[in-house]
Amino acid sequence: MTIGWKSRVNNQLKVLRAMRNWSQAELAQRLDVSRQAVNAIETGKYDPSLPLAFKLARLFGMPIEEIFDDGFKGQDDAC
């Protein structure tokens, strides 16, 4: 369980946002969350909830696992 202060999940949010030329505030408005929430996700200080992750996936038109990467490479990493 990730209860710490630093996320172990990397994400492409900043890149995807920059590709669309959106500010953090603009993305936050599209997601109906605060700008601080977007900033915290981008900087890896916070992992979004599953509903918010789905919302992001829908917004960017991509599967969740293309936006978020937990470093899992396959069977060998499972244990």
């Binding site: 590709m19 669309r20 030329n21 599209r30 109906d32 605060s34 601080q36 929430a37 916070y46």
Partner: protein, 215 residues
């Protein structure tokens, strides 16, 4: 060059958020006005004149404050209308909390027998039963209403900050309280006083919340 994605929903409005300075100035002005009336009331009593009823000053100050805030909201009505329902609930919760806090704080200062300064908010002097009952009801009702609005309005990130802050505040209570109690029973420290424990818990709660929300 990367082109802008045309498949996205309509562009969000980039209306600039109204500043927080005016509500603060209006609120402080109303409190100061109430203080002026309180001073006038005391001066009239000391001079042997008939003072105005004690509720006149706070009532006028509250009316001026609410009038000022109404003008402020009217001035920025378009911005508030553009907010999402979640954001509206958020600002309503904060506004409600601020108004109730201001009423309790102002009433408490006016209720004190002596001083009538901001420091009275943190004093432990006697309060009138009217104020004690009224403020308790306002606190309970206001906090309940504010919390319902607030928890329906916050996003995941803020909820997480709130939950961790709540836990930290609880720890800030359960660590020192039994220690203080045990040390007191051994006559090593004065009796347990709930206010420092409450304030410490509140301080830790606030610090953790602000850190997680704004770091």
């Amino acid at each position: 060059m990367v082109s802008r994605d045309k498949t996205m929903p309509a562009e969000p409005k980039e209306a600039r958020a109204p500043g927080i300075v005016w509500p603060v100035v209006i609120s402080l002005g109303a409190v100061m006005l109430a203080g002026v009336f309180a001073g006038y009331h005391d001066a009239a009593v000391e001079a042997g004149r008939t003072p105005p009823a004690p509720w006149v000053g706070p009532l006028i100050a509250a009316a001026v404050g609410l009038g000022g805030l109404a003008l402020y909201f009217r001035r920025h009505a378009s911005w508030f209308r553009a907010l999402s329902p979640r954001q509206r609930r958020y600002w309503s919760a904060l506004g409600l909390s601020g108004i109730i806090g201001g009423i309790i704080g102002g009433w408490m200062v006016l209720d004190q027998e002596t001083g009538r300064g901001a420091a009275d908010l943190f004093g432990s002097g006697a309060l009138s039963p009217n104020f004690a009952v009224g403020a308790s009801l306002l606190w309970a009702g206001g906090l309940a209403a504010g919390m319902i609005l607030y928890h329906r309005a916050i996003d995941d990130h803020e909820e997480r900050a709130w939950l961790w802050a709540g836990l930290a505040g609880w720890y800030a209570f359960i660590f020192p309280a039994p220690i203080w109690w045990a040390l007191h029973r051994a006559a090593l420290v004065p009796p347990v006083d709930v206010m420092p424990l409450f304030l410490f818990s509140l301080l830790v709660n606030g610090a953790v919340y602000l850190w997680l929300k704004f770091r």
